[in-house]
């Protein structure tokens, strides 16, 4: 994505963040950068002094003492630089990491204020996913900018001044070294980007074939089918194609490097010529010649550094700009009317996913009395889960209204919107946390006392005393964090316990038993009767038999409410519900 921000704009936003990560450290860092730059130039000057003293010593024009003093000065400059440079690195490392912590925390908070439907929009989702990467680069970018503006700028200014003071024409050396390098870097960068673009889809392809042969997802099947050689052929072909591209760009790259190296050498030749001229003309002494000659490579390395930093900064522009985009995403409102418990009303409710053509929910109007139990059925993709998200308030209606106790939920602030609502989602989470945390995470404000935990575990069929949980409620549910692995069925029960733990008047159960075997499933459905007593409950399920006895069944098809009534009535109507029901019932038919 091309960012809409300019370089200057991004730097102005990003650099102060580093300052606020530690103000005093930041100032020290700048002083260190400036100091190190000065010391580097000081190294050249002190070398010059030593070499001159050495030559004079040989001639006998100065004594040993003078030479030793020159050596002492040089040693002092070199040692100070050697000691300060790592400290400046440490300081920048510290600040970058500190800033990272602050920014990441900001990301987390920002995400908590985004509407969940933002995650259904691919471009926003992309922005969110890349926010972490952008904030990682932001710190490095800020540091690099400061590094360039202080350390490198000071170094080049002082070095040029030093060369100029030796002989004005010597200041040209810097330009002799710079031009060929810059030229080469620009060309190389262009070729590099081109190659990545051409190679990326092929790389994805052969990575995929590799997975077909080796990944858990495919392993059993590929082995039993004996498909190895087929995938190996695909892999080899894709790899060959990829390597062909890389070989070509490698050749081009080598050519570019050859040309730039040649240019660089010519540049050096120029510098050497200037130096030689100066020394033969008696403008500079032996010491200055040797010291400058020894620092040619250093000048080049410094330029290399600047170019690389510049490249990093411009390459990070995209991701950092993306991070700034992320921070600007619209948030849900945080003030409004209080939520009322009561009936739930839907009025001409429509919903369309971001970027989708068709509406996922079309013109649904109905009223659900407080305390009733509702089943929602329909084929895959008929809009059941979407409707639930709208009723809970996770999604906002594209048109029409959802009212809780007569209040449009669009007017309810985030802090109240989800009060006294709970759910067991189809895509429930498996938190790699303790068993108790896995359950109580649904209601942070309630202190997780054992009594409530025991009750919801009992209701959901979780047995904290069993062998499955060696440390009871304190069992870590993750192999990765030195805990235990659970089966899908166990996880599903925990998700049910989690949903029940949260204090609620309304509960949504979205296919809560898909991974549980039928015996257990029956038990859980039976328990729901008690659990959902006096509460408004929505149950989304494929197991039509299990919801026969609810107060009311809503049948969805292609986003529309096609049938609404109790089991007997709907069966008699012989419509969509009857079709779905019979397709299951036939397998248990006694005839």
């Amino acid at each position: 994505m091309k960012s809409k921000y300019g370089l200057w704009h991004v730097l102005r936003l990003v650099t102060p963040k580093l300052f606020f990560a530690g103000k005093i450290r930041f100032l020290i860092l700048i002083l260190l950068y400036l100091g190190c730059a000065g010391l580097l130039v000081g190294e050249v000057i002190s070398q010059q002094l030593l070499f001159d003293a050495g030559a004079a010593l040989y001639e006998g024009t100065v004594g040993l003492m003078t030479a030793f003093i020159a050596l002492g000065v040089m040693a002092a400059v070199f040692i100070t630089n050697k000691a300060l440079t790592p400290i400046s690195h440490y300081m920048s490392h510290f600040l970058i990491n500190k800033m990272l912590g602050q920014e990441k925390s900001k990301i987390h908070k920002k995400i908590s204020r985004l509407s969940p439907e933002v995650f259904e929009d691919t471009s926003s989702l992309d922005t969110i996913n890349k926010a972490h990467e952008g904030c990682l680069n932001a710190g490095a970018m800020a540091n690099m900018t400061i590094y360039m503006l202080t350390f490198h700028a000071a170094y080049f200014a002082m070095m040029s001044a030093y060369l100029f003071s030796l002989s004005p024409v010597l200041a040209l050396s810097v330009i002799f070294i710079f031009i060929p390098m810059a030229l080469g870097q620009v060309i190389t960068a262009k070729i590099y980007i081109k190659q990545e673009n051409a190679a990326a889809p092929i790389r994805r392809e052969f990575d995929y074939y590799e997975r077909c042969m080796t990944d858990r997802e495919f392993f059993k099947e590929t082995r039993i089918l004996g498909g190895f050689s087929i995938f190996m052929d695909m892999f080899t072909n894709a790899l060959k194609k990829m390597q062909k591209i890389q070989r070509i760009s490698n050749r081009k790259d080598a050519l570019v490097v050859t040309v730039t190296s040649l240019l660089t050498v010519i540049g050096y030749g120029g510098v050497l010529y200037l130096l030689l001229n100066a020394i033969i003309g008696g403008v500079i002494g032996i010491g200055a010649f040797a010291a400058v000659f020894a620092s040619i490579f250093r000048i080049r390395d410094m330029m290399d550094g600047v170019i690389n930093e510049f490249r990093f900064v411009s390459r990070s522009m995209g991701s950092v700009g993306n991070y700034l985009d992320f921070l600007a995403l619209p948030e849900v409102k945080t003030s409004g009317k209080a939520k009322e418990a009561g009936d739930i009303e839907l009025k001409d409710l429509c919903f369309r996913y971001p970027n989708a053509e068709a509406e996922a929910i079309k013109d649904i109007s109905l009223t659900v009395k407080k305390g009733t139990t509702i089943a929602v059925v329909g084929e895959n993709g008929s809009g059941k889960s979407t409707l639930m998200r709208l009723i809970i308030g996770l999604y906002h209606a594209s048109s029409g209204e959802v009212l809780h106790g007569g209040v449009n939920i669009q007017d309810i602030p985030l802090s109240e919107l989800y009060q006294r609502s709970t759910a067991v989602f189809q895509k429930y989470q498996r938190y790699q946390m303790l068993l108790s945390e896995n359950i109580s995470i649904s209601d942070i404000s309630t202190k997780a006392n054992e009594e409530i935990l025991d009750r919801v575990c009992e209701e959901a069929g979780v047995e904290p005393e069993s062998n499955t949980f060696p440390d009871g409620y304190s069992t870590m549910l993750s192999r990765e964090f030195d805990g235990v692995d659970l089966s899908g069925g166990q996880w599903q029960r925990i998700s049910i316990a989690r949903g029940l733990f949260r204090a609620h008047d309304m509960i949504v159960l979205d296919e809560p038993t898909a991974a549980i075997d039928p015996v257990e499933e029956t038990r859980i459905y039976n328990r729901f009767a008690e659990i959902a007593k006096d509460k408004t409950a929505f149950i989304v399920t494929h197991r039509l038999g299990s919801v026969r006895l609810v107060d009311r069944i809503l049948v969805l098809k292609n986003g529309r409410l096609v049938e609404d009534g109790n089991h007997d009535r709907l069966l008699a109507a012989d419509g969509e519900y009857a079709r779905l029901y019979k397709s299951q019932e036939q397998w248990y038919d006694n005839s």
Binding site: P86, E221, L225, Q243, G287, F289
Partner: protein, 608 residues
């Protein structure tokens, strides 16, 4: 050239050089030669600089002609040209080297991984090892190679510069040598300390990363929003991040102190060395040119030792660890015949399968998933396995298809022990649609024809597609059977779960193995689609040997024989009618499920 393999490979320290030497000898020869020449340059430069400066001085004093300066000047230029042009050559050679290494390494790793005994795939520890090794394996190895070279180059450089010093002041050479030893030792020590601190910080970072995922990912958005736990989890995240930050910074400050200290000390020592040179200089035993050349070389050498050497030594042990991981991967057991295609299906028939007192425990588990399991299955019949989750249904198919062979007891197919079969014969015997069946992002035709890799039969493919009723949707695909599925290849088309399921079944039809196994294929489907899969399977299983695993008993009843598995054993077996009249586990489970669909008056349990 013999293909590079990592099977049972033994890794030693010198394999940073030897291993790539075997993979890409030409490139390595050029690299090595160049590295050595480059390392010798500083020593040569001492002489050339000395010569140049001394001639320049002579020119000033009038003892030399201007023309004499041309030779040293030319040599200086020559060295410069070589130093720079070699980078061009090396970037080319390194490019080719990386390509060769990547290819050889990737292929060797794939070969090894694809041959692994199946238990390593399901075992978390070996799987972690595999994931660790195979994450950009070439990167660490190339890093290691470069560091190894850096160390060699530094050694060559030290020795050559020392030799030059030796010719001037012999005892000074010994002093320099004595200095390098504690420095190398210090670098190694600091590398190790760094590693310990890294492990400490990494522990907290992993936790912080996980919490950050919960706070940011799309998967968690529903629960995160509804339950409103962001602030609480963010607090926990901050704690972990701070722990990691503190640990890292503590390590970094120690590292900084060491680097600053070591750098200062070595510089001090080298300054003293230069100081010692002043004495022969004052006695005119050494020329100013030689003094300047040596002083420059010694200071540069110390610089190199203080940065590159410290860096190389402190990283190379980590990279060696990575290399050693390859050895551990190479040592994992393989399955014989893992990569073979199935043998000719025309030649195999299934008459009888017998499990005799089979017991099996998953590696790292204590519970016997199969416990003295015995069962006889006849060819040509349809079997259904029923039972609760974790009863061992799926495990049976894993043993039968040869994925696990470390079970107790025996399995006989057609009277011959399964252990005596070659894997390609077993592959020919069965085709399986797994619960978590693979969705290959290749073309539709390739997907179906994977069912029997020994034949390429378009008619048969169309027949299979027709039988499972995807022939209609094929017509709507942009390129018919040649359409790519999934998102990997260009122009790929997305399929729904139900469509993938049908493709998986079409694959087994195309294969026409003597026995077809379907392992709970309907978990992700809605009732209508589920019902269709049942019908489909009952259709295609006519006249074939089939094994159908399900816990929806309504679907199990159509089998000739229903096997109820409980706690790793056969609890009941018989036809639907037989088992119902037996009034055991099956009857209870069936009634339980049927009650959902019975008229309210008939059902005993009152639901909701």
């Amino acid at each position: 050239m013999k293909r590079f393999t990592i099977n049972n490979i033994k890794i030693h320290f010198w394999d940073f050089i030897i291993l790539p030497m075997r993979i890409s000898p030409g490139c390595m020869l050029i690299k090595t030669t160049n590295r050595i020449i480059t390392a010798l340059i500083p020593a040569m430069q001492v002489y050339v600089t000395a010569r140049f400066i001394d001639t320049a001085i002579s020119y000033f004093t009038g003892t030399a002609d201007i023309s004499e300066i041309i030779l040293p000047m030319g040599l200086i230029l020559l060295i410069m040209i070589y130093t720079h042009m070699q980078t061009a050559l090396m970037s080319f050679v390194d490019g080719i080297f990386t390509l060769n290494l990547t290819k050889a390494l990737r292929e060797a790793l794939i070969d090894k991984r694809a041959r692994l005994s199946y238990r390593h795939i399901e075992d978390n520890d070996s799987w972690n090892l595999i994931s660790r090794v195979c994450k950009e394996p070439e990167r660490d190895i190339i890093g290691g190679i470069n560091n190894a070279y850096t160390l060699i180059a530094i050694a060559v450089r030290i020795i050559s510069v020392l030799t030059v010093i030796l010719t001037q002041i012999w005892w000074l050479a010994l002093l320099v040598l004595a200095m390098t030893i504690p420095l190398a030792f210090l670098s190694k020590k600091s590398g190790e300390k760094q590693h310990i601190a890294d492990v400490q910080a990494a522990k907290h970072e992993r936790r912080a990363d996980y919490l950050s995922q919960i706070l940011s990912d799309r998967e968690t958005v529903e629960e995160r929003s509804l339950f409103g736990y962001s602030d609480a989890v963010n607090t926990k995240w901050s704690e972990q991040f701070l722990h990691a930050h503190t640990a890292r910074m503590k390590a970094a400050s120690r590292f900084t102190a060491q680097r600053a200290g070591a750098g200062s000390v070595t510089l001090l020592v080298s300054s003293i060395l230069v100081g010692f040179m002043l004495i022969p200089l004052s006695r005119q035993e050494m020329t100013p040119g030689m003094f300047i050349g040596l002083a420059t070389a010694v200071v540069a050498l110390v610089e190199v030792m203080g940065t590159f050497m410290v860096y190389a030594i402190s990283n190379i042990s980590r990279q060696y660890g990575k290399l050693k991981d390859i050895e551990s991967l190479g040592a994992l057991s393989q399955q014989e015949g893992a990569l073979d295609a199935p043998s000719d299906r025309g030649a195999v028939k299934l008459e009888r399968i017998e499990f005799k007192n089979v017991s099996f425990t998953y590696p790292g588990n204590e519970k016997k998933i199969l416990n003295d399991f015995s069962l006889v299955m006849e060819g040509g019949k349809q079997y259904a396995f029923a039972g609760v989750n974790g009863a061992g249904k799926t495990t049976i198919t894993k043993l039968l298809t040869g994925l696990y062979d470390n079970y107790e007891g025996d399995i006989f197919i057609n009277g011959r022990n399964l252990r005596k079969y070659e894997l390609r014969e077993i592959k020919a015997m069965f085709s399986v649609v797994y619960q978590d069946f693979a969705r290959y992002s290749i073309s539709l035709a390739e997907n179906i024809k994977l069912g029997d890799v020994n034949q390429d039969d378009d008619e048969r493919m169309k027949w299979a597609a027709n039988l499972i009723g995807i022939d209609n949707s094929v017509e709507q695909l942009p390129k018919g059977y040649e359409t790519n599925l999934g998102k990997i290849r260009p122009g790929g088309v997305d399929m729904s779960g139900g469509q993938w399921q049908r493709i998986a079944i079409a694959r087994t039809l195309y294969g026409d193995a003597p026995m077809q196994i379907l392992d709970e294929p309907t978990a992700a489907l809605d009732p209508v689609a589920e019902s269709e899969v049942y019908k489909l399977f009952s259709e295609i299983s006519k006249g074939r040997s089939t094994l159908f695993i399900t816990h929806r008993l309504g679907a199990a009843r159509m089998a000739d024989e229903i096997v109820v598995i409980d706690s790793g054993r056969v609890a009941e077996m018989g036809s639907h009618a037989q088992l119902m009249s037996k009034n055991g586990i099956y009857a209870e489970m069936f009634e339980n499920q049927r009650s959902w669909y019975a008229k309210p008056s008939e059902s005993e349990g009152v639901l909701i």
